[in-house]
Symmetry: C2
Subunit: 332 residues, 2 copies
């Protein structure tokens, strides 16, 4: 299929996804913080997907994909995926909810809490080398052996539609949101949020937040995928946003709907963002969420128009190894 004819999700797809998954997921709260407002010199709104089922927003897309697969293929469906952790955990949970088998291929440096959670949902967990090829190779082989349907963590119509449901809820709670800061890995979340968000509120600015080294802005501004191949991992403490390239489908959407100005954050800013959340908001968040907080407090945002008054931040997940918090580890 050429890029031009690729079917992209629209608002109605995302609304249908919401109807489908709503009985099983949490309507996550939106928190505010006067300290955060003072620090970013705007009004900040935090969408707490760290409080979502399975501890991350990934539950939305995974459940939508599994329920849609079961609608189409029936009770004999099987799913498989590879993921740095949160998508695997979410797919395991979703498959368990739907009563179908699930295999997850997981890099061998994934925090043990995530692996234990996958197992607790009854998934078959297979460890692999922490490289893009290691993940994909193992996953392709097992999918063929098992006759299982591969559910990408981002490059999938139903995943993007599921993640987009975040924007429906966020704009219901804060209808006059001016901008939203979305941590990006494969791009499933940012493309889903942009699709729903800009359809409901065209003036909403959807900004990608990336770990340093992803270099998304250069590709977005050029309108071309300038990343090196084979796909690389970015070196960041935020293990949820390590993929360098956007997935194919998210890329097509991002190019149309996501701002070309990308917020790039380094480990130091991510750790500071995490600690702010733990200390002042009493919320446990992982590195990827810390990246969103870091973008909120960045000089780049300070320099933007004061018309961007109400700024949303997606606290996308809260799964991390609590025995090795980054600010404690780095002090020793």
């Amino acid at each position: 299929m050429s890029e031009g004819s690729e079917q992209l999700p629209c608002l109605a797809d995302i609304q249908q996804a919401h109807e489908r998954i709503r009985p099983y997921i949490h309507r996550t709260p939106v928190f505010t913080s006067t300290t955060a407002d003072a620090r970013c010199e705007r009004k900040a709104f935090f969408k707490c997907e760290n409080l979502q089922k399975t501890g991350s927003f990934k539950a939305r897309g995974a459940l939508n994909a599994v329920l849609r697969l079961k609608e189409k293929s029936g009770d004999k469906s099987k799913v498989i995926t590879h993921s740095s952790g949160n998508h695997a955990q979410a797919l395991a949970w979703a498959a368990n909810m739907a009563g179908i088998p699930c295999t997850v291929v997981v890099p061998n440096n994934t925090p043990i809490t995530k692996i234990n959670a996958m197992k607790s949902y009854g998934a078959n967990v297979v460890l692999c080398e922490p490289t893009v090829e290691g993940r994909k190779g193992t996953c392709d082989r097992l999918a063929a052996e098992q006759g299982a349907t591969y559910i990408s963590s981002c490059d999938h119509f139903d995943i993007v539609s599921g993640q987009g449901t975040i924007a429906l809820e966020f704009l219901e709670d804060v209808p006059d949101l001016d901008a939203v800061l979305v941590p990006v890995s494969g791009g499933g979340m940012v493309s889903g949020i942009a699709t729903a968000g800009k359809a409901i509120r065209p003036q909403l600015k959807v900004f990608a937040v990336e770990a340093k080294g992803k270099d998304l802005e250069r590709s977005l501004k050029a309108g071309e995928r300038l990343w090196p191949n084979p796909p690389q991992m970015v070196d960041t403490i935020a293990e949820g946003i390590r993929l360098q390239q956007l997935g194919h489908l998210p890329w097509l959407i991002a190019l149309k709907l996501v701002e070309k100005d990308v917020f790039t954050v380094d480990n130091e800013a991510i750790i500071e963002g995490m600690k702010f959340s733990f200390e002042r908001m009493k919320l446990v968040i992982e590195g990827a969420s810390g990246a969103g907080v870091a973008a909120l407090f960045s000089d780049r945002l300070k320099k933007m128009s004061p018309d961007l008054l109400k700024v949303g931040v997606i606290l996308c997940g809260g799964n991390l190894d609590l025995d090795h918090l980054p600010w404690v580890t780095s002090n020793q």
Copy 2:
């Protein structure tokens, strides 16, 4: 004044306190957790006072006391207190809100995050030895020098009334609550919650949760204050609940309204309760809140009547030193 003629707060006092403080405090959310339900074999409801202003429920009582003092004594009012941290932080915040001076006498082993927060609210912070006499002596001397009104952390009509507002909100959100587990230090919170809670719902059982060594049950069952004098501190990692004796006013109320069965929890159970909250609920809580979670998961609760189906837990605060989390420290 003899014990018999002591004026105790009633439901109307607590309702008035709520009217007074409501514009300035958070209506804290009530969270649930399917994992917690499975583990305690009941329905658990967590009242998130860790998300309250200043990071603990103490903001309620402190603000009520300061606003009442200002009503009576006018703009020249000054306040002073001694506290293990959360009450001092709350009084500093409340005085700042009301625009009156505040001095806080704080044990020199208080976490630096709490001290910094007090200073950020403009309080005059004075360190003292971490003993009951050290705190009281320093506080009495400074109160006389400054002509400041001493606001006890627990033994004060307006403090008890303020803390009781927790129960108004909790029973609005969960009207058929059967029991509530309340961590206890000086007893301001448990006596306020018992006053409002039992007035609204007489069959509600209000249980005290104590750190091992407090020995509250023996006193409650005897109907006498059996604690050694001078007052002692209990040796616990939950620094918010270190006072051994209940305050005079809370004691009178507890004797009438709080269950004689007391939940006693040790450091190990407190740490496990804290980690459960961080890991599964993504909420940062301090040791005193961990004590409440520990009581929820205790064998003592398991052995109680299954009629106590809906059990509330007060997550009373979330202020702790994040550089030295107890489960990390104890591994090293």
